[in-house]
């Protein structure tokens, strides 16, 4: 009786990129000015098309030294400025971010590959919220429960990843500045453009020169930033391997450090969960931002009694995900950020198949050029599979099953990581019990990937240490206040 009608084809709805002016080449942002680097340069490409976007200066050790010196000079004035005055700058930056929100969102999508829907509705609004939130703390630090007269640390060296270029910048820069520190920030080499646009925003906000310095480059530049002797504080978000290297590099120095590293989060669905919303949560948990999320719900633990029903619904839902042009407003999954990352995702997925897990992806046409990977799930995965243990950092979900709550806890905690977890059940007492048992920095209940500046974020075990966000996030940038 079902009558088939013509399919509802959504016409392309691209966001215009004319709002963004990408220069052919960019220098470094040091002491309030854009300057040429002394090192070589590298290219940043649009991962959706492989087109070269701009030539970026690669900061040498000498460039980093100049930036740290500028930050040190600026620290004198910035740290002595009253909190109320510092707040004015942060509020101004937050407002400019909102005003230039569309520009930032488009540039982020072009350089990173994430869908405009996400850069526009998640990244940029949360970035502005972070600056607003920490602007509010700047004149209330003595009331933060971190001592009667908390003092800034000095110069913070910050190294951020490519998955949320602007958001990670905000998580690092906003609390540092609110507490009276100055910063030298290195964005990831594949996504430097929004950080450089942020530098322009700092100029527009009349931020005193040297308070924010941005040095672009790859691993070598990052190493120069974190190991510079005059850097008092290191903040890093990225892979566990690099995090360990940083911890080794600064061991024995008096640098303070916060590290936010990898994850292999369990998203646990009980048989009494609101099943349609759980499916949404699973999809959002692993396919948001192409799965380039350290807290992604990359291991689905589903109770055996509902596994078949849930997987059928999940596959149906995955069939409606739209993969393609990041600037199209209807795109759900954009491009993988780099060829290197794409290779890694392919490699681990092939290993998953070779180890006997069953691979499934909905039929979808991927663009001919650019870096793409379809939303993929592996069923029949066990704790012994590499795809259940290693961070894929891509749109790849491993599905495992459990029989009892105790088994769910055991499997969820059986990982070297401990950044986040999700619990899906309509039973409130079970949520509280699970939250107390799971060794993860964040436990979401009946939701996933929710971020708010007022809520601290950080990991257990190999997922790092220290907390970012909230009142706790201040402790990482104040003397004597341990996170």
């Amino acid at each position: 009786m079902a009558k088939k009608s013509t399919p509802f084809e959504y016409a392309p709805a691209p966001e215009s990129r004319s709002i963004v002016d990408i220069k052919p080449s960019y220098g470094l942002f040091v002491d309030g000015e854009f300057v040429d680097g002394r090192g070589s340069s590298f290219k940043t490409v649009n991962p959706a098309t492989e087109e070269t976007l701009a030539e970026i200066a690669e900061a040498s050790e000498a460039d980093v030294d100049l930036a740290v010196r500028a930050a040190r000079r600026a620290f004198r004035g910035w740290s002595r400025m009253s909190g109320r005055e510092r707040a004015k700058y942060l509020f101004r930056i937050a407002r400019i971010i909102q005003e230039r929100g569309r520009e930032l969102a488009v540039l982020e999508s072009i350089d990173n590959g994430k869908p405009i829907k996400e850069s526009r509705d998640v990244d940029v609004p949360v970035v502005a919220a972070h600056f607003f939130y920490y602007a509010g703390w700047a004149d209330k630090l003595e009331h933060a429960g971190l001592g009667p007269d908390p003092q800034p640390l000095g110069v913070a060296g910050q190294v951020i990843p490519w998955n949320f270029p602007l958001l990670m910048l905000a998580w690092k820069v906003a609390p540092a500045l609110a507490c009276g520190n100055t910063v030298v920030l290195k964005p990831a080499e594949t996504t430097p453009l929004t950080a450089l646009l942020f530098a322009e925003i700092c100029q527009q906000a009349d931020l005193p020169p040297g308070v924010v310095n941005i040095v672009t480059g790859a691993g070598g530049t990052g190493q120069a930033v974190v190991s510079h002797p005059d850097v008092d504080k290191v903040a890093f978000t990225g892979s566990t391997a690099v995090g360990k290297a940083i911890a080794r590099a600064i061991a024995g120095s008096d640098k303070k450090a916060t590290l936010e590293l990898g994850g292999k989060a369990a998203n646990i669905v009980f048989d009494d969960a609101a099943i349609d919303q759980a499916v949404e949560g699973i999809v959002g948990g692993i396919f948001f931002n192409q799965g380039h999320v350290c807290c992604a719900g990359s291991r689905l633990l589903v109770q055996e009694s509902v596994a078949d029903e849930l997987l059928a619904k999940l596959k149906r839902r995955m069939g409606t995900l739209r993969v393609g042009d990041p600037l199209d407003k209807n795109t759900d999954i954009g491009a993988i950020n780099s060829r290197e990352q794409l290779d890694r995702i392919r490699e681990l997925s092939d290993i998953g198949e070779a180890e006997g897990a069953e691979r499934w992806a909905p039929p979808c046409d991927l663009p001919a050029s650019g870096f793409w990977f379809p939303p993929t799930i592996f069923t029949g995965v066990t704790q012994a599979h590499r795809i259940a243990r290693e961070e894929v950092f891509g749109p790849v979900l491993s599905v495992l099953t459990f029989r009892t709550p105790a088994e769910a806890v055991e499997k969820a905690n059986n990982t070297p990581y401990g950044l986040s977890a999700g619990v899906w059940t309509e039973k409130g007492s079970r949520i509280l019990h699970m939250a107390s048992q799971l060794r993860a920095g964040v436990v979401w209940a009946n939701t996933f990937n929710k971020f708010d500046p007022a809520s601290p974020f950080g990991g257990y075990k190999e997922s790092g240490y220290g907390r970012e966000g909230g009142r706790q996030g201040l402790a990482a940038y104040l003397k004597g206040a341990d996170a």
Partner: protein, 327 residues
């Protein structure tokens, strides 16, 4: 729309005969359905609302939306003259453009069915509200007489209301039996039957869990369509309520093989809103439901906005409200 004779329940439905055999089993079944997380359902509906439907897709969606409208007037002040005018509009929504499709149906009170029928003939369906609409507070005999009257007057579709009081009191079997009885009252002497739409008044049921239970209850009782609201209670149709109902009809077809239609009614006033609903139909229930046989809008002012947007798509200009008829 086809009006087929009631047949034996589909084999898939027969499996549920034990569920509806008694109050206790029906309650156990309805309360055993998976819950709906309010925050999650509302977030999903809002997310689908950000889809951007442009150019050819928009033109296609506007025409489909016009074909899905149940053009409605349910006022104490309705007169034969008023409903005849509305019926003319249903046939030719845009007199200036013969390519503009007719709407799906005209929806009126039962006593005015004949007036509408005289104008539209069999080109557009006539839907009548029945069973002591909108409150549903009358004896069963009155509700059934109300229904039979409308069917006898030529109604193609009956929009009944459930007894929300009985539902909220947990008397699910009573609600079930009322729907079954109303469906029997929809049968014409020749054995065909008027299509039955069951209105929940979701604004009174309040929770999405209740909406999911009422939807299963009505579908098991033989509804052809499930409908959100009377339009007399706020909130009427919302995107999340419709989302939950679309999930249910999708699951129901999966379980029984029987496809049921969905009709949000009340509060949908703009073409932009209508397109959001169509996106939701497409992505939640699937494109099998993108047809006036399976999805309707209960609306009155919506039609003119659809027409204005349609004219804008073809001419590139917005015309003033005086270029569109008032009824």
């Amino acid at each position: 729309m086809s009006t087929t004779a009631p047949t034996d329940p589909a084999p898939g439905l027969a499996a549920y005969s034990e569920v509806t055999a008694g109050e206790a089993s029906l309650r156990r079944f309805l309360h055993g359905l998976p819950g709906v997380d309010q925050v999650g359902a509302e977030a999903r509906a809002a997310g689908l609302g950000t889809r951007s439907i442009k150019t050819t897709a928009k033109a296609w969606a506007l025409d489909l939306a016009i074909r899905m409208v149940d053009l409605t007037t349910l006022e104490g002040q309705d007169t034969p003259g008023k409903v005849r005018a509305l019926a003319s509009k249903a046939l030719r929504p845009d007199p200036a453009d013969p390519s503009c499709p007719s709407v799906a149906a005209v929806c009126v009170y039962g006593d005015l069915v004949g007036e509408v029928k005289a104008v539209v003939g069999s080109e557009v369906n006539v839907a009548a509200v029945a069973t002591a609409f909108p409150s549903g507070r009358a004896s069963m005999a009155v509700k059934l007489a109300d229904t039979r009257d409308a069917v006898a007057a030529g109604a193609d579709e009956i929009d009944m209301v459930i007894d929300r009081g009985a539902f909220l009191a947990g008397h699910y079997l009573q609600v079930f039996e009322e729907i079954v009885a109303t469906r029997e009252a929809c049968v014409r002497p020749d054995g065909s039957h008027a299509h039955l739409k069951v209105i929940f008044e979701t604004g009174e049921l309040q929770t999405y869990d209740n909406v999911r239970r009422a939807s299963w209850l009505a579908m098991l009782a033989g509804a052809d369509f499930i409908k959100t609201s009377t339009g007399k209670v706020q909130p009427a149709a919302t995107l999340p309520v419709t989302l939950v109902m679309l999930e249910v009809v999708r699951d129901f077809r999966e379980a029984t093989g029987v496809q049921i239609g969905v009709k949000p009614a009340g509060g949908i006033r703009t073409a932009k809103d209508a397109i959001k609903y169509l996106v939701m139909v497409n992505e939640i229930a699937g494109d099998d439901w993108l047809d006036p046989d399976w999805f309707r809008f209960g609306a009155s002012t919506l039609l003119n906005d659809l027409l204005m947007q349609r004219t804008k798509m073809t001419t590139g200009r917005y015309s003033g409200p005086d270029y569109f008829t008032l009824d």
